[in-house]
Amino acid sequence: MKRLVQAVGQNSLATVAGLGDFAAFTSRALIAARTARGLGDRWIRAVHEQGVRCIPVVTVVGLFSGLVLGLQGYYVLARFGSAGVLGTFVSLTLTRELAPVLAAIMIIGQAGSAIAAEIGIQRNSEQIDALTTMGIDPLGYLITPRLLASLIVFPILTVAFVLVGIAGGYLSGCVLLGLDAGVYWSGVHSAIRSEDARECLLKAFVFGVVTIAICCHSGFTTHRRVGVSGSRAVSVSTTRGVVLSCIATLAADYLITSFLV
């Protein structure tokens, strides 16, 4: 019993210390934006890394999400004689929940994993130590541009997800199943209010900063992985970054929704 209490206590303390370390890491990286040099070029590179390269996966997943929502929604709503509200159903589901969460998870899979692996390798090959010895702040050089890029990339890709998803709903609901297009688009138009758009963008901002910070932190602390080293430590850091980011996305989604609804 004593051992169990000790183990729980040690794990709790380690978790609190880890959260504190993560908070300090993220805030120091954001504060470093004031002093980091050559930030513009690296920010553009980070926008390309997280944004441009993720456009295909986000739009494809958005399209299929819309197609599936259109199909499922049409048949369920038709049972109650309400197929006419399909546009409302698809647009609200995407805007409020699916688009921010699924776009974030897609970006984590495509860009977050790459970020964690790249920074982990830089840690392993002493490139981060080299920055320190050259008098360059590694957070300002490596992390700040990526965090700032996430602030613009996540909202834009989330909006793209919503638009492509609504088009997917139109394809399955109207083109395949024969719902009147005017009814569908009128439902879409009347359903989305400014509060819904604000909630969608707020979620995208929060998911962006939190998930990219987690992936960066995971790669940056590769040398602290216990029991593994070298390429195995990079692999563990990458997996850890992706898994924690996905969990954080869903947890943050619940918290934001519970406060806003």
Binding site: R37, G38, S125, D129, A130, T133, M134, G135, I136
Partner: protein, 253 residues
Amino acid sequence: MTKEPPNPLVEVNRLRKHFGEHVVLASVSLAVARGSIVSVFGRGGSGKSVFLKCLTGILVPDGGEIRFETNLVNGIRGRCSYLFQGNALFDSLTALENVALPLEQTTRSSKRTIAKASREALKNLGLEEFANYFPTQLSGGMQKRLALARALVTRPELVLFDEPTAGLDPLARNAVFEMIVQYKQEFGFTTIIVTHDVPEALAASDRVALLEEGRICFEGTPTEFASSTDPVVRGFSDNISSLRTSLGRNSLE
């Protein structure tokens, strides 16, 4: 043992570092005179690299003090360059971008000035035509020279070399030490070299130190090291000598 140099650039007193229960540096004291080359010898795992990392602040010492120009510092940064054992070059940047990086990030020079200084540094080390190559496209010796070009481009007062000849053939090893001496004379920086290559380091250094069991157990000139009767120094030298003999390369003389 000989007396400490007057007005040292770097002075380390009773430096301690341990990892868990394992004490790596028990109490290291060393003074390095301005403009000199000091080589630190020691067996593998004796804490030579840890010592350099404590000097630069990459590792935080558990005790002791580091003075740079008599000022107490947490780590010598900005005014020193560190040549890592594995070179630590940025593999996603070209040779020119690697050399330009410290200037871009730590000075307010114009892009043109930085490009000119970086090309000059590459030219000095015979890498001008490889400016647009990535580090992985260069040989081991060229990577070492590129790392040296990056280290020297900011005109540092102190350059720390961590096993600069690791993994190089004998000819390349000699070339690296010749390069260090040549550039030290040209640019006037102070040098601390951590190495296993005793003969080459003895020829190139002004002073040498032997790190054993977490302490500096010998510090003096190369001649004093070679003629020392200290059993620890003799034991270390004899080990190196017999290893070379057994490898058919009895070039310690």
